[in-house]
Symmetry: C2
Subunit: 288 residues, 2 copies
């Protein structure tokens, strides 16, 4: 029998967040606001305990993974994807058998493959599409998730009850949720998120290396197009490598489009160029 | 003897703007505010006379190029680059011999090559790096040029006096000016402005054609990176083709960087990937 939102969220007495940076810290602030009676616990690297405690003075902040999950009925992994496995293995046997586990990672197939053997049908992969070029718990804000899309990636293994609870949880944080398979998620975000990031970084490096003087004459176009290149490199290197097959495919597709564009220039084909730009404008203007 | 800013701008009794869209209209509004006693005249396509007159009810708005420049001591071409030649030829013999002529075009070598035979040492090429993805005089605003960089592109032909006057004029509009040759300008903006636009459009078209469902799961990263793809296609097709040699070179440079990136993915080289992203982040964070 599915549990009602009020029942599950109302009964949520403790939530543990693993890896509170911008993403996990903002989730913590949103929970403090919306579930003021719920206990918050944070697991973080030893070196970040103090920084996290400064933002959440009344919460438990620890580097002990088992202690962090004691009594928690919901556990959220917000660390970079490649940093999830270690604490997940450490605490797997300490988790309350009724707890649900979710995450906020930017790739899903690899995460689900690693988590399901540990948590079985109580794990529900999630990717809240929120963030900024900033990183660190000190930039956390309680409205980061407002209106963001959160993709849930249940599998045949996932319990329907756990899915409903995790869905309610991310909705409470402010997200609009939708569901798809982990593999389809990775295929889509390779194009909507990873490809733009790779391009922004490649564009900055191209200009910096070939014509650094051009950086003195940039307008809002260059700044908008490259904003995400200011994001944290270690997190992004992890994302790209975890999703390498799809990112490589997406780069190949983009290559083809750039070649088409270069062809219009070489042939001086104004009409084809205008049509290419017009198609992009039509699609883009429907996005906001 | 160089004319002082006050002398030239103070004596400026009439300014003519050719092609008032977002760029020319915003310039007109800035002048109304800062030189309230100066007469404004606009030359525009016959079909746009009414629209322009609605924004500038007290100005002369005409499709007659000779009438538009009568008595004007400063003339600014704000039409798309490929649309400048026709009205420039029509009015060249009607211009006051003491008038200075400038423009706001996004490419400079082609414009200077066309204008100098018509106006000699009184023409000073300019590129105010301001704009948005919107177009049309109805979006004009009097602060578009505030803090924008304006590149002036004098040649050996250009009169020092005309250069000083045009410099004062764009400064009055709110710009920070700098000077370089038309060819160097085209080389730099191919990287800082034209390349990002081509990429943004190619990215939108790639996703729209290969995985349109990915457009349903975009975050702020995709939206920032592709914002300029919503710009007017006919203006941009003209810019790309006028600067085709440099844009092609820039696309080739970017191709190389994307190949480097793809190589890191293929080899699973986390360190090289992180270094690539870190370099981009360092450069990017210094831009704002």
């Amino acid at each position: 029998m599915p549990v009602h939102q009020q029942d599950f969220l109302g009964a949520l007495s403790a939530v543990t967040i693993f890896g509170p940076g911008l993403i996990g810290g903002s989730l913590g602030l949103a929970l403090q606001k919306r579930l003021p009676d719920c206990d918050l616990r944070f697991w973080t690297r030893a070196s970040s305990v103090e920084k996290t405690a400064a933002v959440f003075p009344s919460a438990l902040v620890t580097h002990d993974a088992c202690k962090a999950v004691e009594g928690a009925s919901l556990i959220v992994f917000c660390c970079p994807v490649e940093a999830m496995e270690k604490p997940a293995r450490e605490m797997a046997n300490a988790v309350d058998p009724g707890a649900v586990i979710t995450d906020a990672g930017s790739v899903k197939a690899a995460v689900v493959r690693m988590m399901e053997p540990l948590f079985g049908n109580r794990f529900v992969g999630a990717h809240p599409m929120a963030g900024s070029e900033q990183s660190g718990v000190q930039f956390a804000n309680d409205s980061l998730y407002e209106g963001a899309t959160c993709i849930l990636t249940p599998t045949e293994t996932t319990s329907k009850e756990a899915l409903a609870q995790v869905n309610d949880f991310w909705s409470l944080a402010g997200c609009r949720t939708l569901q798809m398979s982990p593999e389809h998620h990775d295929r889509l975000v390779a194009r909507s998120s990873h490809l733009p990031h790779a391009l922004a970084s490649a564009l900055v490096n191209t200009v910096a290396e070939t014509t650094p003087e051009a950086l003195e004459v940039t307008g809002s176009g260059f700044r908008d197009t490259t904003r995400i290149a200011a994001g944290p490199e270690s997190m992004w290197a992890g994302i790209f490598l975890e999703n390498r097959r799809e990112v490589l495919a997406a780069l190949g597709e983009l290559h083809q489009k750039i070649d088409d564009f270069a062809g219009f220039l070489e042939r001086g084909d104004y009409e084809a160029m205008e049509k290419f730009l017009s198609r992009a404008r039509e699609v883009r203007k429907d996005l906001e």
